[in-house]
């Protein structure tokens, strides 16, 4: 029997991923979306690092750089964990853009420094929301090491959200739609 071509193997993989997404989603499939978000954040944090203006320039220029450096570490760490779990993480720009849940805008280069911080908080919160689901799924799948890594990722996001909120003079969970417990 002849060996499968790379194209055939890719088609098999895509069929498997589609199946997982539309039947029973797992922690790995959610993590593809996390990688997509991290990819968008990589570009967006650079945009803000370059274009931030005003009296907070020196602080935020440096802070955005620190944030994209940390972001980059998670990109590699989460993807490598997926590989170790036998899954194939997204690995091209096109796939990552498709998986990303975050938006970007060339007009953001003109927005106020505080608005930039606020947008990053929103993106971190949206990423945290997906991370929470991934943690629960990893738990169900008894993939404890992956669960642990995801918890660490959430912990890191929690801290960053709290600090950026403090920069804006707000409490950690203030204006957080995901933490609105008024219903049910």
């Amino acid at each position: 029997m002849s060996e499968k071509t790379p194209q055939e193997r890719l088609e098999e993989e895509q069929e498997y991923k589609d199946h997982v997404h539309h039947t029973k989603i797992n922690a790995a499939a959610i993590t593809d979306h996390l990688l997509g978000n991290i990819h968008t954040l990589h570009v967006k944090l650079h945009q803000y690092h370059w274009y931030v203006k005003g009296p907070h320039f020196f602080t935020l220029h440096e802070k955005f750089e620190e944030l994209y450096d940390d972001n980059e570490k998670w990109f590699d760490r989460l993807a490598e964990q997926l590989l170790a779990s036998g899954y194939k993480p997204a690995s091209t720009t096109k796939e990552l853009v498709e998986y990303s849940m975050l938006s970007e805008d060339p007009a953001d280069k003109y927005i106020k420094a505080e608005e930039m911080v606020d947008n990053i908080i929103d993106d971190f919160r949206e990423t945290r929301e997906l991370t929470i689901r991934a943690i629960h799924l990893a738990q169900e799948e008894e993939n404890v090491v992956f669960e642990d890594t995801l918890i660490e990722f959430k912990d890191d996001l929690d801290t960053k959200i709290w600090m950026l909120q403090a920069f804006l003079g707000k409490e950690a969970l203030e204006d957080d739609d995901y933490h609105d417990e008024e219903e049910d």
Binding site: H21, H22, K24, I25, A29, I30, H33, M101, E129, L130, I132, R133, D177, Y178, D180, E183, D184
Partner: protein, 76 residues
Amino acid sequence: MQKATIQLETLTCPSCLQKIENAVGNLKGVDKDSLKVMFNASRVKVNFDDTISIEDIEKAIQDLGYGVKRSRVKSA
């Protein structure tokens, strides 16, 4: 302006969330900036004016194939 909270059947995939966001966000009478789809709570929050009804919004979600459990509407 009215404020709706719509409880959906459990959202399994983040892509569903984007489909719902696009469909509801493009309805006339819906305040796009207020729209938030919460993945883990499987809940939609949105403000809308009197050119559209809560039934229209629910229908837009159901047409995509997602079940609506119940909605709550308050004046905003």
